[in-house]
């Protein structure tokens, strides 16, 4: 038999655990009820705030409002939330009028104060606000935040700096843009585009050219990353750089990325050489580029790609053929009739039908 003392010990342990679990559960229930209560009361306050301030801000945007009621500090978060939303949905002078409104209501000073709080939430709110306000005086406070390891915080700080002074931000953080692989490339590109600093993107082009030709995997990864941001770099800046990078590139992904940017007939001889590349996504980009800038003399090459073993390459080649022969439906139908490869024929038939649907 198991001893009574042994059972007592287990029973004691189990009972203690039970009491602890029960207490924790009760605490959680109280927390839920408290959260529900505070959420509902906050929602009521927010509703009241919006009823008063939304029309005021709208009048502020149109320039017809002259006076504003005093803003309770309890409502500052609602204010900043509404103000930032409106700020990102208006353009031109309306933005300046919104900025005047925020300054008059003391929100610039409040955002400065929020920047020094410890939580992530107030600091993000402060960065978005100061960025929208183009608050130059906050530059030195924001710059260290852009160098913090936390992705969201540093990236939001970068966004604020780009809005305050895009050219200075690009110059200051050029190496960061290359090295910070945790910063989302697509959003980074849009931030640059949005800040209107495209002319300063020569900094990025410079950085890319410095990495060009390197065979170190890390440099190639950085270059691939920069090339993705090139989508917002003006063509006259990026095209020469892309040609230089392509001339020394051996990495297939890098080649495919470069082919995406080639857009002038003088690039055709180079593009054609990649139509027979052993890696399928390079052939795919070559076919795509030929469809974009090619001539009818490229049709034989595209017909060859139409018989490619990879479906995606055949699809892109068919699209390219349709694009090149769009104006000559009869010739396209004639070409279709001459195709003997069933895969090529099916693909061209589909692309022709898709083109009809798209029109």
């Amino acid at each position: 038999m198991v001893s009574a003392a042994h059972f007592d010990a287990i029973l004691w342990f189990v009972s203690l655990t039970g009491i602890a679990v029960f207490s924790l559960t009760l605490l959680m229930v109280f927390r839920i009820v408290w959260l529900r209560f505070s959420h509902n009361s906050r929602a009521r306050r927010e509703k009241k705030f919006l009823e008063l301030w939304r029309p005021l801000m709208m009048s502020g945007i149109s320039g017809s409002e002259t006076g504003y009621p005093p803003l309770r500090m309890d409502d500052a978060e609602f204010f900043l939330d509404l103000w930032n939303h409106l700020h990102e949905s208006v353009k031109g002078p309306a933005k300046s009028r919104l900025n005047n409104l925020a300054v008059r209501c003391g929100m610039a000073a409040h955002a400065h104060a929020l920047l020094h709080r410890s939580g992530l939430r107030p600091r993000l709110m402060a960065l978005i606000t100061l960025g929208n306000l183009r608050e130059n005086s906050a530059w030195s406070d924001i710059l260290p935040l852009a160098k913090k390891p936390d992705t969201i915080l540093s990236f939001t700080a970068l966004g604020a700096l780009l809005r305050i002074n895009a050219n200075a931000a690009l110059g200051e953080l050029k190496m960061q843009l290359v090295d910070r692989t945790d910063w989302p490339t697509a959003q980074l590109a849009i931030l640059i585009q949005e800040s209107g600093a495209m002319a300063s993107t020569f900094e990025l082009v410079d950085a890319a050219l410095q990495l060009s030709g390197s065979t170190r995997p890390e440099d190639i990864r950085k270059l691939q990353r920069l090339l993705r941001i090139f989508v917002v770099v003006p063509t006259h800046l990026k095209l020469p750089a892309v040609r230089t990078i392509l001339s020394s590139a051996t990495d297939s992904e890098l080649i495919a990325q470069c082919l995406k940017y080639l857009c002038e007939p003088e690039d055709l001889p180079c593009i054609r050489t990649y139509a027979e590349h052993p890696v399928w996504f390079v052939r795919l980009q070559a076919a795509h580029a030929l469809g974009r800038i090619g001539a009818t003399s490229d049709l034989p090459l595209l017909q060859k790609l139409l018989r490619d073993p990879v479906w995606d390459v055949r699809h892109r080649s068919a699209d390219a053929i349709v694009a090149l022969m769009r104006k000559d439906g009869k010739a396209l139908a004639g070409l279709l009739a001459t195709l003997t490869d069933p895969f090529a024929r099916d693909m061209l038939t589909m692309s022709m039908a898709e083109s009809r649907v798209a029109q």
Binding site: M1, I10, S15, G18, T25, I32, L124, Q187
Partner: protein, 475 residues
């Protein structure tokens, strides 16, 4: 006699340790999930602000496999067509339905035959035809021979055009911004190969023309119990494993994948009923084996609403299927277990799932039998039986209440105090019969798997009570 006493002691200790590890593991996941959710909520300040980077978001193919879904297919497709996303296509794959699903689609969306050249990357049952909608240019329908859900998804992958595909159940309703939200991990991190969203119960809600109009609680006990169960599964199950890159399942009802990665690993397997879980485990296994950097993440805010079973029979079938799917997935990817480059997934999540989700069915049943038999034979005292029962129930309640707390911290989808009361009541009530019933069904599912039966589409009776005013789209 002493031998028996020793055996009882060993068994007792075994069950106690199992119990402690199981609940300790769940509490750990809970803690990780809470931290992760808090961070997500803080970050919401940033995410909530309108950002204009849609042009750089990758286009997405929505794959909707449908087998006998005539009752709900039009509403689901309509909701998908109205998603707020820049560039996407909807591909419905009619898997040889017998209830007129294809005809319903033709009637609702003005379909016309279209010459299609499907990729043959993944082998599937023969495709009978491809259809285009004359009303919605981004809607296509593939009509194919019956081959199961996985086969349909593979056919959809073959026909899809875009680099990401989103697998969605035909009986589900997506929130308008779901795609926008679930795509974010792919925009933010190139290593992301799969992302899963939250599944919520549609029963008791109201939808019109494929969109959710109001969120409510069902007036039946079974779906209400499942609401708490789903909250637990998604808010701390998925959210707990995700930051560790160790999430083993993305619900088949709503998941976004990088097409090239899925084709690379061979697409969905057609010889399992748990194709969604199996694919995720395989993605982990192969990426880890080949040492390719990757991320599989859970995004809590995109929500997909789906109808839960309202009858015991249907629920039982669903749970048996899930357990069978789990067994198959674990077996097919067993080399992930303690593998050399296994990371959190191979060393913690996989063994955890194996021990507590798979073998746990046997252990828990044996535990129940041991404690009741012990009580019957006088080895276990009434007080001990009661104490274990109370602690077991209390821990169950604690885990469910913590899921409710996370819901309250984040989405707050059931705003009325009455709804809160009912959810708390369910968190308690589910411990008295529902969990035990689930355990028996899972055991049944394991037996079925062990003794082998054919894998097939889960038959689910849809009430579609939430669905109103379905009118054909005019061309």
């Amino acid at each position: 006699m002493n031998q028996y006493a020793d055996m009882v002691l060993v068994l007792e200790l075994f069950f106690l340790i199992y119990f402690a590890l199981l609940n300790g593991g769940y509490l750990f996941l809970n803690a990780v999930a809470m931290i992760s959710l808090k961070r997500q909520m803080d970050r919401q300040v940033y995410a909530d602000h309108p950002r204009i980077y849609t042009a750089l978001k990758p286009p997405v193919s929505l794959l909707v496999p449908a087998y006998n879904e005539a009752a709900t297919i039009a509403a689901s497709v309509r909701s998908m067509l109205q998603l707020s996303y820049d560039e996407f296509e909807v591909i419905v794959i009619n898997d040889g339905s017998l209830d007129g699903t294809l005809e319903e689609l033709q009637r609702q969306f003005g379909l016309v035959p279209f010459p299609g050249a499907c990729r043959s990357g993944i082998k599937t049952q023969p495709v009978r035809g491809m259809w285009y909608s004359t009303v919605h240019r981004n809607l296509r329908v593939i009509d194919k021979e019956n081959g199961g859900k996985a086969d349909s998804l593979n056919a959809g992958i073959n026909a899809s055009r875009y680099p990401l595909f989103c697998a969605v159940d035909a009986d589900s309703i997506l929130q308008r911004n779901s795609l926008d939200l679930i795509v974010e991990p792919f925009v933010e991190d190139d290593r992301t190969i799969a992302a899963g969203g939250t599944i919520r119960i549609l029963n008791g809600c109201k939808a019109s023309d494929g969109f959710l109009v109001s969120v409510g609680l069902p007036n039946k006990l079974l779906p209400m119990l499942q609401i708490v169960e789903y909250l637990r599964a998604f808010l701390f199950g998925r959210l707990g494993w995700s930051p560790l890159n160790a999430m083993l399942v993305i619900s088949g009802a709503f998941g976004l994948f990088r097409k090239s990665s899925v084709i690379e690993v061979g697409g969905y397997r057609t010889d399992t009923v748990g194709e969604d879980m199996e694919l995720v485990m395989r993605l982990h296994r192969i990426h880890r084996q080949k040492r390719i950097p990757y991320r599989i993440v859970f995004v809590p805010n995109p929500i997909c609403w789906t109808e839960a079973p309202e009858s015991l029979r249907v629920l039982k079938n669903q749970r048996m299927r899930w357990q069978r799917g789990l067994s198959e997935s674990l077996l097919m990817n067993r080399t992930l277990l303690f593998s050399r480059n296994g990371g959190w997934v191979g060393w913690i999540a996989f063994p955890f799932t194996f021990v507590f989700e798979w073998a746990g069915v046997f252990i828990e049943l044996a535990g129940y039998m041991f404690i009741f038999a012990g009580f019957w034979l006088g080895i276990v005292s009434g007080a001990a039986l009661l104490a274990f029962a109370v602690v077991s129930v209390l821990l169950g309640v604690l885990l469910s209440v913590s899921a409710l707390l996370m819901e309250e911290m984040s989405f707050h989808l059931y705003p009325r105090y009455r709804q809160l009361f009912w959810l708390l009541a369910m968190a308690v009530l589910e411990n008295f019969g529902y969990r035990q019933l689930n355990l028996v069904w899972r055991f049944h599912g394991m037996l079925r798997w062990l003794f082998g039966t054919q894998a097939q589409w889960g038959k689910m009776t849809r009430s579609a009570k939430w669905n109103r005013s379905i009118r054909p789209d005019k061309s």
